[in-house]
């Protein structure tokens, strides 16, 4: 079972995070201070760590992160923070964080990002062919085929599909798509990404094929092999 360490000093927030992760099938342990987090992370192996940026008692989130990386513990770390300023995010990522999420966040956003962080480690980057069900993408030739039929995609649609294909069966939120595919970071509150996804979906499902991209109520998508 995948074990996740949640480092959060506020008991209620910690409980919410733990519940959300537990609902997604993770085994969760909580630490309430930086020292506690370090002790646990050194003693045990965790698949991922959710780390609050601000912690009481002298050892703050970035210090914990630096110490862990210094000790060679390379579990993916998702930093949580109430600070949304760009340089705060950059500092967090430079200190060895793998992703950065600003409070308040939705539980789906958190679990989706943890899933992606966990999976990132398992898929080799040097793949040239991505396949899910009858959909295949040639990464070198940038060709998309479904059931042997070529599909013409616009560059942006191709990048959306490629990102989804790299994380099959995982929830990908709109914010993640926006960050990854458009490379801008802010809370996109329009339905523009839905429209992009709608176009992509129509092209993939052309000819009455069963839909491969499913909408997750709330804020995300999953690419799955059609049944």
């Amino acid at each position: 079972m995948t074990r996740v360490l949640v480092v959060e000093d506020d008991a209620q927030t910690a409980a919410e995070i733990a519940a959300a992760l537990a609902d997604h099938g993770f085994e969760v342990e909580c630490a309430v201070s930086g020292q506690d987090a370090l002790d646990r992370a050194i003693a045990d192996r965790y698949s991922a760590i959710v780390l609050d940026r601000m912690l009481p008692g002298g050892v703050d989130g970035l210090t914990v992160l630096g110490s862990l990386r210094g000790l060679g513990i390379d579990a993916p770390v998702l930093i949580l923070s109430a600070l949304s300023a760009v340089d705060e995010r950059v500092r967090g990522l430079r200190a060895g964080g793998d992703d950065y999420l600003t409070k308040p966040f939705e539980s789906l956003e958190l679990t989706a990002r943890i899933e992606v962080l966990l999976r990132r480690r398992t898929i080799p980057e040097r793949q040239t062919m991505l396949r899910v069900g009858d959909l295949e993408v040639d990464l070198l030739k940038r060709e998309v085929r479904r059931g042997g039929r070529d599909i013409e995609l616009l560059p942006r649609e191709y990048r959306l599909l490629e990102y989804l294909l790299r994380h099959p069966g995982q929830v990908i939120t709109r914010t993640m798509l926006f960050e990854e595919v458009w490379s801008y970071r802010y809370d996109q509150r329009t339905n523009v990404i839905d429209v992009h996804m709608g176009k992509l979906r129509r092209k993939l499902d052309d000819g009455g094929l069963p839909s491969m991209i499913q909408t997750v109520r709330g804020s995300g998508y999953i690419l799955r092999a059609a049944d």
Binding site: S84, A85, V86, R156, Y184, R185, V192, G198
Partner: protein, 477 residues
């Protein structure tokens, strides 16, 4: 006004100081004048006596006695008393029988008094010793000269008193004016402090230094009042815009508890509640973001950016939505490569995206939305134009206010914070935000003047950027 306050006022003190200076200089001037006049008049008397003395000195004693007798006949009233005396000072002849005083030295002019016409009259005289040893004494009545001097002195004294009185009165008047104005200002400030922000400091409609100060302070008060009104407006708007979804949320939850029977219905109610809560959170986040952007903290994340590239990305991002709504979205640039500027790409994307989103939202089906980047005359920028309904004249000033939404667009989803964020992002980047209200439609321009400044000496990263300039240009509306 208390009279004791008067000497404390600057204007009164200055008036008194200048009055004193003027008095001293006048005193010196008139004193000199008086001295010179008196000397001149005395000298002319002395000259006449000297000439007569010369005539007598050249004659022999018999001739002198003869002349004395003739003189006494010509001047029976004795206004020019001449006399000849023996060496011991005893009278020999002339119309002066007694030497007024034993002269200490001869040929020295001196003044003395004689009784004439019933009262003492001033005379000026001189004595000399003739070669025979006899003493000759000549004198002249100087009543008129002394009267003239008296008149002069009195005129100067009265003039001085008059000037002093007028000066003091002036000082009191200006002092009272100042005291009155300062009292007015103090009263006004006290009322402002107690909460009456509409109160203004009184002016005398003059161009005095105090009036200039009052004008500046009144301008500042206008700004403060405007800001307070804005804060109040924003607070009211927040209360309104948050109360509505919260009321819906509460209503939905209560209805769910009252009526819902199946799990499925409960789930639907929860989903509804989640959506409402997200909307409320979204509004809060947007407010906080605007505050954060206005705070300037985001400058830390500034990098070199290509405005044209960001604008193109925005157009590409919104293209499918425009297509879906039947709006023609076009991108156009009049420069092959815009000069780089420093900025936060995500914020600029969001700002331009807000403008394009608005333009698409308010364009009718078949309408056109154009995004154009430009670079001319040393300024670069991006313009978003549409041929939608435009912004009514009376609402143009208010469009940037937080939460402001035109009444007729209340049914369109959105928090009404978009343009406020655009304005905040523009300010952060030293961009000028201007509205060109063509009819139909409107054009919003974000523009930055890069002339005269190298990119390294960038005001937006070197420190405080220029104030945001919001222009509303009317054309044809």
């Amino acid at each position: 006004m208390r009279l004791t306050d008067l000497p404390l006022t600057t204007s009164f003190r200055l008036s008194v100081l200048f009055l004193g200076l003027f008095g001293v200089s006048s005193f010196v001037f008139f004193g000199f004048l008086f001295w010179k006049t008196t000397t001149y008049l005395n000298n002319s008397v002395d000259d006449r006596l000297q000439r007569n003395l010369g005539v007598y000195a050249l004659a022999n004693l018999a001739e002198v006695e003869q002349r004395m007798r003739t003189h006494a006949q010509r001047d029976p009233d004795g206004w020019w008393p001449f006399g000849l005396f023996d060496p011991a000072g005893h009278y020999l002849s002339g119309n002066l029988t007694v030497l007024p005083q034993r002269p200490a030295r001869f040929r020295q002019y001196f003044e003395f008094k004689l009784r004439r016409a019933g009262r003492a009259a001033p005379f000026r005289g001189v004595a000399d010793r003739l070669p025979t040893g006899n003493i000759i004494f000549l004198s002249e009545n100087v009543t008129e000269i002394r009267a003239f001097q008296d008149l002069l002195l009195k005129a100067m004294a009265w003039g001085g008193i008059l000037v002093l009185a007028i000066g003091l009165a002036g000082a009191v008047i200006t002092g009272r004016g100042a005291v009155r104005q300062i009292k007015g200002i103090t009263d006004a400030i006290e009322r402002i402090v107690t909460g009456d922000l509409a109160k203004r400091l009184p002016t005398d409609r003059g161009a005095g230094d105090l009036d200039r100060l009052v004008h500046v302070v009144n301008g500042m008060l206008d700004d403060i009042e405007r800001l307070m009104r804005e804060v109040k407006g924003v607070t009211d708007d927040i209360a309104h815009d948050l109360r509505t979804p919260l009321t819906r949320l509460l209503g939905g939850l209560e209805r769910a508890r009252r009526r819902t029977t199946s799990t499925h219905e409960y789930a639907a109610a929860v989903d509804e509640a989640i959506a409402e809560t997200k909307a409320v959170l979204g509004t809060f986040s947007a407010l906080l973001r605007i505050a954060e952007v206005e705070d300037g903290a985001r400058r830390a994340g500034f990098t070199k950016i290509d405005l044209g590239r960001i604008a193109a990305d925005v157009v590409e991002f919104h293209a499918p939505v425009a297509e879906e709504r039947g709006v023609l979205l076009s991108f156009d640039t009049d420069a092959h490569a815009l000069p780089q500027m420093s900025g936060d790409p995500s914020l600029l994307f969001e700002a331009i995206s807000n403008l394009v989103d608005n333009a698409i939202k308010f364009s009718p089906t078949g309408g056109c939305v154009g995004v154009r980047t430009f670079c001319y005359n040393g300024s670069i920028g991006v313009a978003v134009s549409d041929n939608g309904p435009g912004i009514p004249h009376q609402e143009r000033e208010a469009v940037l206010r937080r939460f402001h939404r035109l009444e007729k667009s209340r049914h369109t989803p959105g928090s009404g914070l978009g343009l406020s964020l655009v304005a905040a992002v523009a300010k952060l980047h030293g961009l000028t935000l201007s509205f060109d209200f063509a009819y139909p439609g409107s054009c919003v321009t974000l523009e930055r003047d890069l002339s005269g400044q190298s990119l390294t000496a960038d005001p937006a990263i070197a420190g405080e950027g220029p104030e945001p300039q919001v222009h509303a240009i009317s054309s044809g509306a």
